[in-house]
Subunit: 361 residues, 4 copies
């Protein structure tokens, strides 16, 4: 977790800008002998890929991933496998529209990282947001596809549970619905209303935020580590590192502040010879270590900063002016954050699993 | 941020259990020539120290800190200063009540880390919670006192803004109130109602949660770093690593999901020759880098798991039973989380400042 | 320095196998606003490139580097500069001869990493040595070219000072000679005898070792850090990480064991108002921190393991057999280790400089 | 391996100055359930303890270690065991002679770190060398005692093989001799001549260097990791981080430069159903990964810089002067480097073993 690397034993280092030749990552520390093809990774990238419905940016990026190292196919054994050496994944940028960037070259778009990159580095790649573009998250999704293979008994699923101020009805929750609507939402009814709502947002050139929930089932008790490698801490770091995320919570989260100690403490009984919790306010984590229950994390995504309204800003030269973000954008960037959140969950779990195995065996 | 170390250039490694001989930390990477005495650190520890009101645990710990290394006093120059070498801070445990631990030795207290430590390590120090005790946070507060000295122009302040379901009225916010009530709350009126509320909780042997807000003023634009060393990411990790914290948010946080893009994007004007934002939904961070506005982070603390009610649980041998946590405890552990949150803010900022200076000069 | 990453603030993560599609690296933590083009990097790669004389492997690799991210050219300011974001450098593999690998697929070549990779991972890319090939060092040289730009007042030079058992005469040392012979040796006379000697080695299908010396002039006093980030420690790690290196020494090195305390302690006088050492047995480093004198490191490279003689070995199936390494190889791989050693010196110094600036300002 | 921390999964962070109240370390990442008492650690510290013969410094330090955290004794199970949490080890300084430091406060002793610490930090603890004192190595030895417990099948042994210019006769090598003479040398005859030689050195107030060899037997094939976590790389870093070490080599080391490829490549045969190497020029490491043979590392220790002769130096004010180091010192600091080298070997192996288990299982 330093600059452009996430993880300790399972490490993901990403590179690339929105309008450079390519983006991608090096995945280091992957165990050997895991079957791996580009197709496996591609399936996850396709979920995040833009331009699949009218509700995401119309930028056309095939997001075709190539595995440049770290796998080997011995003709006798059939099928490429990981070798334990670094896996470089590369996705070439294709649809960098050659538009005129003069407008945003010198103006700081409110809500974007334009101002802060300039303040920090004294230079910035202003084309398409450069390094601060959400395109970087494609590399996370690719790495996450590998991470999933390291924790084979674990099922990781994400869902959009709030769009703008509209929340789903959790009693309608149906995981199979998630893949049936363009919002990755598990509530079929909500999906309908989201459609109408987001069409309105889209047409008015505005944007809205979202809340995403990601769960991991099948994580055994014992992953995670006190004190500064807590599972919830690393999940918080992982999710907060995603573009536009402004809040993260585990289990009951912020609502736990309003619970009594009696309500909050998940009681334990035996079930089929194993301890079982009667509730999961803890979100599957106690003392930074997994309990064996579902890991539950939620995060809030702010509304896309790219909007068609004119906003007050200043130029890099210090003059007051207005700016409007023309061009393609996601009216609700939270939608495509669902596969990204899943990927980050997978990466955290893979890394924690390997470290746990290292220390405890 | 690995196991028991937090930070990169400014690194804090903590040690110690609740009922061992001592707790403390090694602070590594501190710049040299900073005046430092135990008294300076003690002032912050005294804020966190238990037993100062009837609203915190009655364990009597003087929490007297000793500086064991890393400072030097040259008799000619007057006053001890840091030397750039590791500073070991030690706080001896004094009030380890010699009670009978038989009850919790074999029973997993719901909401505690008993079960997960046992699951992970196959052994646990069950006395007073061992390593998972909130006593560890004293070491953070001590390290935070040093961290503050590294970012001298920055003012870091924390406040309790919600207790149970009772929120303060933000229009009453007065920072000077924070030190006048035992709850570190900036709303004098709320302090009164908290008193009554918490007395009820305390007498019934129950507990309640809280929400804490920590702000840092005076942070220049440009601290923090994409992509996996984002300032908000590290603050999320820092706060989530505190015992009992279940949620973290930056600026508008979860509420930002319900804002429109127009509402959320903080507009910019010039003020006294410098860019100034007209609002601060971003909480002082864009793209993971500080904007120059106040850094604003909030975190939710779950209700203390130690309560006097009997709860269902199981033994380490797999038998169903009940457990009740006798003895001293904080009815609202969120109160003492205020100085801890401030300390973690200071540690994150000190580390980010040094890394920024390293890369950019 | 974990698995495939070297460095802390200036971090180099390499990827790629000898016969995969490409090799390269991500350079993270580079300061912004440094002019950087592929041509600058190429100049250093060309020094390391194979096939330039009859004394290195005849594999024909243009080693053409592409900068895939981390630089930006603003048409107004002229010339691409670093942006502070990760720089991905890629070198495509071109001359992967499609020979039959059947012979070494199942046989462990003595002196190679075949046996240990198989033992560790249970799988290995046996084509051209896979990840253990010296081709990986091209990525180091590329990263080193960037590192040099971070320490502009520092001059880093390497030289071959011993080939087989033949040592140069240090009184003949002339840095300008280094670029005039195919051995990077500073002794013109030795170059002549090396030529004859190595021709003999080459024709007989044998190989020989070498000793390389790398110096850095212009390093100010104060870089490096106790206790486990010592400048000499990191140089030792850097050089020992190069393929085939079996020994590293600083300054007087192993010879210092035979010196008396009087001989070894470099005395100090004033010179032009600055402290100056009267000798440099320390190799420019005391207590892990630079003294301001030349940094001097030497390392020993073992003879290339690929030789035309038949050697006893076993198969992966556990049968005794013989093996002979056919095909192209370097008779003295130490020659091409010179630019690699320079690159590692540059990387260590750049990283230490940034960390020093971080802690001390 | 950053500033005062060594290791990745098994991490040792040391603290303390020569004349401060205490020195010690935090050992983090230790597996749980390992029996551990202070007595076990003390046995190794006693080997390194000064004042045991006339050939080491006469400073009287009992070097009594206390375990301050990370172990737990459950009265039912008998005997304290590690809990997987950080183990803090503390050794109080006892014999800080209250001498007058005026002489070295302002003078830089040639060969010491005085000058470089001052240049780096602008301040230094000049009492007894402060942080740069070899007293820090006691913490390493203590940590090494724990590390040995993590790799139980491995035997780690060190020996002094050269004192000044006097080398042992390797045909006399007898490990049992090592504990029978005050020099940790395996050659009984050499021990005799060392005695006479060192008495001369000691009486004349001079000092001499040494070469130490440390071996580890029983390391299975497969520990270590390409490319920047090579076993030999980390051993080089470990040994070079020890005070006064100026050179490190693995296996044939520098001598390998003069071997032919035929001589150097260790051939392999089957032995009792397992591959066995017919020689060990590789020192048990190929491609950075262990071969299953003995790991062999040697390092050179320069002569102690503290000598009774007057040497030319300058003051911190820039005036030329002379300095003589009065007081207690080791005439051959290499002697006490033997247990330190063993400890560093143990620490590297423990860390590599845990990381190997993490990645490969």
């Amino acid at each position: 977790m330093s600059h452009n690397t996430f993880g300790h034993l399972f490490r993901v280092t990403t590179f690339g800008e929105s309008h450079g030749p390519a983006i991608g990552c090096i995945v280091d520390g992957c165990p050997p002998n895991i079957p791996l093809t580009a197709d496996h990774i591609q399936a996850f990238l396709d979920k995040r890929r833009p331009g699949q419905s009218r509700f995401t940016t119309q930028r056309q990026e095939p997001d075709q991933v190539r595995i440049m190292s770290g796998v080997f196919e011995d003709e006798r054994t059939g099928g490429p496998v990981t070798t334990g050496t670094p896996i470089m994944l590369m996705i070439e940028n294709v649809d960098q529209r050659s538009k005129d960037y003069a407008d945003i070259r010198d103006k700081f778009r409110p809500g974007h990282a334009d101002f802060t990159y300039q303040a920090k580095y004294g230079v910035r790649d202003y084309k398409g947001g450069g390094r601060s573009s959400a395109r970087e998250t494609a590399a996370r999704v690719a790495a996450g596809a590998i991470a999933r293979k390291i924790v084979p008994g674990v099922t990781i699923r994400g869902a959009l549970i709030q769009m703008g101020s509209h929340k789903i009805d959790r009693t309608n929750w149906d995981w199979t619905e998630v893949d049936r609507n363009p919002f990755f939402t598990p509530d079929a009814r909500a999906a309908k209303s989201f459609e109408e709502y987001l069409d309105g947002i889209r047409k008015s050139g505005s944007s809205c935020g979202a809340v995403i929930e990601v769960t991991a089932s099948g994580v055994p008790a014992g992953w995670g580590a006190p004190i500064y490698a807590k599972l919830d801490q690393e999940l918080a770091a992982a999710m907060m590192s995603i573009n536009a995320v402004k809040g993260v919570e585990i289990g009951a989260g912020f609502a736990s502040a309003a619970l009594s100690g009696e309500q909050n403490a998940d009681e334990i009984r035996m079930h089929h010879g194993k301890p079982e919790f009667l509730s999961n306010h803890a979100g599957g984590i106690l003392g930074g270590i997994s309990t064996g229950q579902d890991i539950v994390v939620r995060f809030a995504v702010k509304p896309t900063s790219s909007i068609l309204s004119t906003r007050k800003t200043v130029t890099s030269g210090g003059e007051e002016t207005d700016v409007m973000t023309k061009g393609r954008h996601d009216p609700c960037v939270g939608i495509r954050a669902v596969p990204v959140g899943e990927a980050m969950m997978a990466i955290v779990l893979a890394d924690q699993f390997l470290r746990h195995r290292g220390q405890v065996g």
